[in-house]
Amino acid sequence: MYTFSNRLKIASIILMVVGALGVGVGFVSMPSNVEEAKAMVASHDDGHGSDHGAETMHATEGEHGAATAAEAHDSSHDEHLLHQLQNRPWSALYVAAFFFMMLALGTLAFYAIQRAAQAGWSPLLFRVMEGITSYIVPGGIIVFVILVLSTMHLNHLFVWMDPEVVAEDKLLQGKAGYLNPTFFLIRAAIYLAIWIGYREYSRKLSLRQDESSDNSNFVKNFRVSAAFLVLFLISESMMSWDWIMSVDPHWFSTLFGWYVFASMFVSGITVIALVTIYLKSRGFLPEVNNSHLHDLAKFMFGISIFWTYLWFSQFMLIWYSNIPEEVTYFVTRIADYKLAFFGMVAMNFLFPVLILMNSDFKRMNWFIVMAGVVILCGHYIDIFNMIMPSTVGDQWYIGIPEIGAVLLFAGLFIFWIFRAMTKAAMQPKRNPFIEESKHFHY
């Protein structure tokens, strides 16, 4: 039985409070009108030159038109700038909320695969995974609430939700059959119902299996996991179109769902490894040996490469053909997010590949922790790169709102998953593979 250490509980609460303050500061300092927005950008100019691009672009475009046209453009530009700055705390909140929900979702997918594949090594870690996936309930609901607030026009994260924008945009009108607020929320509710429903049911069966006298709960869990994986791939793919791709509704990519999946899958596995190392170091997982960690690290290594494969496939196909309607996605990212965009490839690919290639390193806790922290930061930046360029554009910065939102959800995540782990024995009792898992040796 796991007992939630007081120090960890206090740490998670401090994270939440500090994070909430950061998020609050982000919302308070949000400009409410064009003048404030201009003043913010002007004062920021002294600090760093992140908005140079916008200024020069505006200047060159202004030269083309007549004076009146330039003036009209000027005011529309200011309006645009205001929306970007107003989006910043919302985007920061959304990216962090999605990132932590995605950790739980990636773990859930891994858990379902372990069940459906009847893996012999992992049953010892099932309670760890079940603890992590418990966050899908609050995390999913928080993301859903942010989406509801978006449909209520409290922010401008999704431009297609704005009827005025759609009225002037033929492309968005064409997509309105799919991208309309009502259908959007219904779909979101369905995805969450699938994920939360499976998580709760599988957890119930897993606990019931401990008490039962036969394996019927285990078999049922196997079947429901296999069925979930089918539904998961459909819902995850559509979720990535809805929640991420649609912040940029003029752009589309066919492998986007897989790409988002790879990102959440590798982050989920990394979280399992980190939590396992923490719990083992506190003596709650006596039967877990370094072969289990070796397996998790192999997954971290392999799925990191898989993520890179998808990242590169998406990038290279679009770069190579250079079709204007697709390539703008990467043009804005390379112009305004150069370090974040390429830095993430170094963090998510080069670092784990070089660190986790050696079989001996994969058995050492501090190597896994080091690689894991870099992978998690890298995948946060990955989500950041997916959302931010379309919502705040070149007005991005990793400052108080972004870090605050990460701390807030990190605290909530830690608090929730470790609290969930106190509710059941850390080791499943009657799993048919538990003996194999205890003696797992690679």
Partner: protein
């Protein structure tokens, strides 16, 4: 100098593993063990040093990557930087995404093939090589442990019989 070796036959891999551990514990040097299939953990029981093939493979991969980069940088950027379909051939980095598939494949190609050739050379395997099998049964269903004799024939024989050997032969080598 001619030396005598003892060949102990086993017909079960578990028995063989125990025998190897026992012989090691008695401080005899095991010359060789012949098996029809890989016995998991035998190398550890015999105290063999771990293979360095993976390290070689990594280095070969690095060589492959270097070959790919050098080759394409010379051909596409230095030697004749043509405009092919608007691809930017001003510097290697600018056109790099187009080279990545080749960089990847050559890395894998070098890592795999040179590692296999290294394996053949280190384990002395080639076509028309004469088989070194002391007994044909070791390729089918028998395991064979070979130990050199230094005036301790009776003692060794007794030890090997006690480990469950089904047959013991002494041959000149």
């Amino acid at each position: 100098m001619s030396s005598k070796v003892i060949h102990a036959f086993y017909n079960d891999d578990d028995v063989l593993m125990h025998a190897v551990k026992k012989v090691k514990a008695a401080k005899f040097h095991i010359e060789e063990v012949y098996c029809p299939f890989p016995v998991h953990g035998l190398d550890k029981a015999m105290g063999l040093a771990p293979t360095r093939l993976a390290i070689m493979s990594f280095m070969y991969g690095c060589i492959g990557l270097a070959v790919a980069i050098t080759m394409m940088n010379y051909m596409m950027i230095q030697d004749w930087p043509q405009d092919i379909g608007g691809k930017p051939s001003f510097s290697y980095l600018e056109n790099m995404p187009a080279f990545v598939p080749i960089m990847f494949e050559l890395t894998v190609f070098f890592a795999a093939h040179l590692m296999v050739i290294t394996f053949y050379m280190r384990s002395k395997l080639w076509p028309f090589k004469e088989a070194e099998n002391p007994d044909v049964r070791t390729t089918d269903d028998h395991f064979l442990m070979e130990i050199e004799i230094h005036d301790n024939e009776a003692e060794l024989k007794e030890l090997l019989l006690s480990t469950g050997a089904v047959e013991i032969n002494i041959t000149e080598k």
